[in-house]
Amino acid sequence: MDSLSITLSALADPTRRAILARLAQGEASVNELAEPFEMTLAAVSKHIKVLEGAGLVSRSKQAQWRPCKLEAGPMRDVAGLVESYRRFWEQNLDQLDAYLTKLQTPDSGTRN
């Protein structure tokens, strides 16, 4: 049960990312979500199902039109991955920079 893989898989599709982008502005019905796309309502519904499966989107059971809502939880996992990777390389490159400076400074004891 690798929920992060499921999240990333769901995010890998441009249509689904566009749907999430729309939902970041607020709840929307399936009809509203389908509007900007040249695809059938059924096709859009399928994408929404994938997003629901990944926990990125939830659908209200109260209202009859069952609006879709963005769920930030799984995004947090993705963000964690991206952030840890980014920080790792940022630190690496800083250290590389410092090391290069040291190598180019005459009388540095390290090498050459």
Partner: protein, 166 residues
Amino acid sequence: MNAPATQNLFKTELPEDKPVIIMTRTFNAPLDLLWTVWTQPEHVAYWWGPREDNEIVDYDVRKGGKWRIVSSMSDGTKIVFFGTYLDVVPKTLIKNTFVVEGQFEEDDRFYEEHRFEERDGKVFYRSTAYLDSFETRQGVIDSGMEWGANAAMAKVDEILARLQRG
């Protein structure tokens, strides 16, 4: 010759149309030197990762070659980084898979691309990490893990904002 470090502009981009991370920066060093420092294990030990103690187990910088670095932390924790070189063009390009044992699985479709270009005696560096392939990897990231996954929360808004712009 002592240019301030602040001249080395560092930038991270998370483009909205692809799950990639792009990092760019400048190094105040000639390309020859940077390439040596990047590709020779005796140099890598000085700048790699957590750096308490790095053991460069493999570092075969050529297409198909492997790399493996074991970083030991002061508390005894060991972090193992490894991968395979998918492509190497001397002083221009390195493409490699990036694996952290227990966090990232090896997958040819998750790779880093490092590009180097010399301009006026400095090196412009650009890396692109392709994350698309994580859908197939098995590893689970634990947000409490060693190397700084905790700032995750703050990133959520940023990523959402980027999605929003897309």
